[in-house]
Symmetry: C2
Subunit: 441 residues, 2 copies
């Protein structure tokens, strides 16, 4: 099994630091907050959601975003999945995304496998299809086959590229039995730096799936983050996007900043019923998930409506850093600082450093931090194709990374990093390049 890439290579959260004297971290996921403060925040939200949000967002922003917000009449805790607040949140998220029904899950692993297993059972065959970069392929201990008894077909020919529309329609043209019961597309594709399909491509894939009688499921772990891309490039909304899919999974603890949890949304009520059964079987029907449901609603309400702005900021930062570092090259002539993709699709991207070892990069990072109190990255990972990466890990227990001269960091513009001025990013990357090429003062 491949080692899981953490959700962000950035520090996830610092629950002990008081933040004083800490460096400006360009890659931090969320502001440091102690456990009891996080829980207290959840309690404050639960006591008076609207009041909490007016304070957190400001009255004006609260009013302007009100149509998007999930504002419950009652905040109770569900008992085994049933409760007024939970049903309100499920209904709100489903409607917000343009679907009729929603089911909350403790994890995305459960949500997606419940949907795929149901599609496979209905089709009376075990086949489901996805790209090799798919979360189910490398980050779930191969649950799909070891626990759910599914068999997967891999879409596409290149681990570093989204499967093309043609490659997908080819699989849909398989003879009836070997044609997959469902296709999973990750929108956007996290491993590929949030590359994604155009809306037109998605329309073609969706039509082809419907024609072939194959369910189309969206891994929308970062759907919140990518929707502004579809608004900007095609004038398309959440509802326009989800209309192309039979079911959609979304996550609440990444960009949305909730405690943990996921939701499956669909127009297909019987899919929800069957997914509930698989949720129960997987041990996801807890006595209550009230803490998570409540905190996820808080996170959703605090962050929905911010992703377009965060995307704009990411584009500004990447464009500026690209321009400022264009002249810095490693000994083999390649640019040191690269982004994947070249231009951000959303507020999450990969920075790829070329031509230096991990040790050299960390030394340079630390020297920049010592001089400027700005920290550019926390963790790096060797940049290989997904397959090659898995092989290296399997064969050498990650020691392959020592000699690699391509590394990446995965990072996002979050509420906390959004506040850092673009020139701070630019200066830090330029300083890093200078340290690496020996031009540092």
């Amino acid at each position: 099994m491949a080692k899981e890439i953490p959700t962000a290579s950035c520090e996830v959260m610092d629950t002990t630091s008081d933040g004083k004297g800490e460096p400006t971290n360009l890659c931090v996921f969320s502001a440091p907050i102690k456990a009891h403060e996080r829980i207290k925040r959840t309690a404050e939200y639960a006591e008076d959601p609207a009041g909490y949000l007016q304070k957190a967002l400001g009255k004006e922003t609260f009013e302007s975003r009100r149509p998007m917000l999930s504002l419950p009449k009652t905040v109770d805790m569900d008992a085994y999945g049933t409760g007024e607040h939970r049903q309100h949140f499920e209904q709100h998220i489903a409607s917000f995304l343009g679907k009729q029904h929603g089911l909350f899950f403790v994890t995305g692993i459960q949500a997606q496998l419940a949907a795929l297993k149901t599609y496979a059972d209905r089709a009376e065959k075990p086949y489901v299809a996805w790209h090799t970069s798919c979360h189910l392929e490398w980050a779930e201990a191969r649950s799909f086959e070891t626990l759910y008894g599914l068999e997967r077909l891999l879409l596409g020919s290149d681990p570093e590229t989204l499967p093309t529309v043609d490659e997908i329609t080819t699989v849909l043209g398989h003879s009836n039995y070997s044609r997959p019961a469902a296709i999973l597309l990750e929108i956007p594709n996290r491993v590929l730096g949030c590359q994604t399909y155009t809306f037109g491509e998605l329309e073609k894939i969706s039509s082809a799936c419907r024609e072939a009688g194959v369910a189309l499921h969206m891994d929308g772990a970062r759907l919140w983050e990518i929707e502004p891309y579809y608004q900007a490039t095609a004038g398309k909304s959440f509802a326009d996007l989800t209309a192309l899919f039979d079911s959609v999974y979304v996550s609440f603890y990444k960009g949305v900043g909730g405690a943990t949890g996921a939701m499956l949304v669909t127009d297909d009520e019987s899919l929800i019923d069957e997914a509930k059964l698989w949720q129960h079987r997987a041990g996801g029907r807890a006595f209550t998930l009230g803490y998570e449901v409540i905190d996820d609603e808080r996170g959703f309400n605090e962050n929905i409506g911010t992703f377009s702005r965060k995307r704009d900021k990411m584009i500004e930062v990447v464009d500026a850093v690209t321009a400022a570092t264009a002249g810095y090259k490693s000994t083999d002539g390649s640019k040191i600082v690269n982004f994947e993709p070249d231009r951000p699709t959303c507020c999450q991207i990969l920075t790829v450093f070329d031509g230096f070892t991990e040790e050299q990069l960390i030394d340079a990072r630390d020297r920049v931090e010592a001089k400027t109190n700005v920290r550019i990255f926390d963790r790096l990972r060797p940049k290989e194709t997904v397959d090659a990466d898995e092989d290296i890990q399997a064969d050498t227990n990650l020691s392959g990374s020592v000699n690699s001269k391509r590394h990446f960091k995965e990072w996002m513009i979050m509420s906390v990093t959004e506040k850092i001025e673009t020139r701070v990013f630019v200066d830090a990357y330029v300083d890093l390049c200078k340290e690496l090429v020996g031009e540092a003062s």
Copy 2:
């Protein structure tokens, strides 16, 4: 699938009522508490566990129970299962129960199936064995076979009786392949009113399992509650009990009163490693379960050390009610009020009402409540054997219950019901009998 018996037939919790003017409920699970108050309580505990407990328990009780308590140095939230506080809690519970290793789970379903699946994989056969009253048999949507690919052998010959030592050793004597990889015993047996084995019987079963190379797993959902029985009858402790088992699952949201969650404890470190893998596959490796871990520790610390006292109270109540209602009989001559078992083993039991329909019982209950403001039960269930019950449900969608003249309520002495004087229980049951036989004033 059989309809799940709720954890207590009592009202689980009332999150909206303010408790004013409410009747004395002999069957309530916990005091009414609003969602935000529950969360705030968790936050207060997280901020200063020892301070919280000194206040909640009183300084003297806190000091006297200190050796039992899980008092963490740091309260952080785990990230994907790793965190100082979570590891502290896992270690504390494992040690407290006399085992070396612990693994926290969001549900008992995941915890038990992770252990059983591992035993089956090791033995290279799918067979596991339990009594028909087992939670895995009727309350988990048959996850063991539909998801985990296990096949179960049923122990014992009578749905209403614990499998005997002889019946278990017979199964252990099966030829190698058909002998189960593991046996699950529920200590105590919830469906049978918390009947349990004597310590001597458990020793025999344990030896026989070891001799046969069969893993012995404890469903200890109510182990906290039953330990005083073994102390009282055999001078045996948690550690003495768990030493007889290869692995033990315990629950944190029942008698212990935590948010939700479970733990698997064992001396077998590789079982923990394998269980982690199954936990991951089942979607139980959430971004954090910090809210649950923290609140479960609070519940454990507030309730550990109280179960002997609650057992004593239950024995006192049952003995007194039995004596006071002995003369009240239904038209067929059977006693109206019965307990299963006759004498409590612990603070949980079944009250079985004989000779009246559900409607008659509810009418009588409501008349008693109207006169005395004491409520004897909330929900009733028809009392059949487990098998017959399932058949009725499958065939008639529970309509079989309408004509049944045997009903039970499941109830516990919890922190809130412990405070109700025994004579209140006695008077209420006598009043109920009088209403039923037409002697009410």
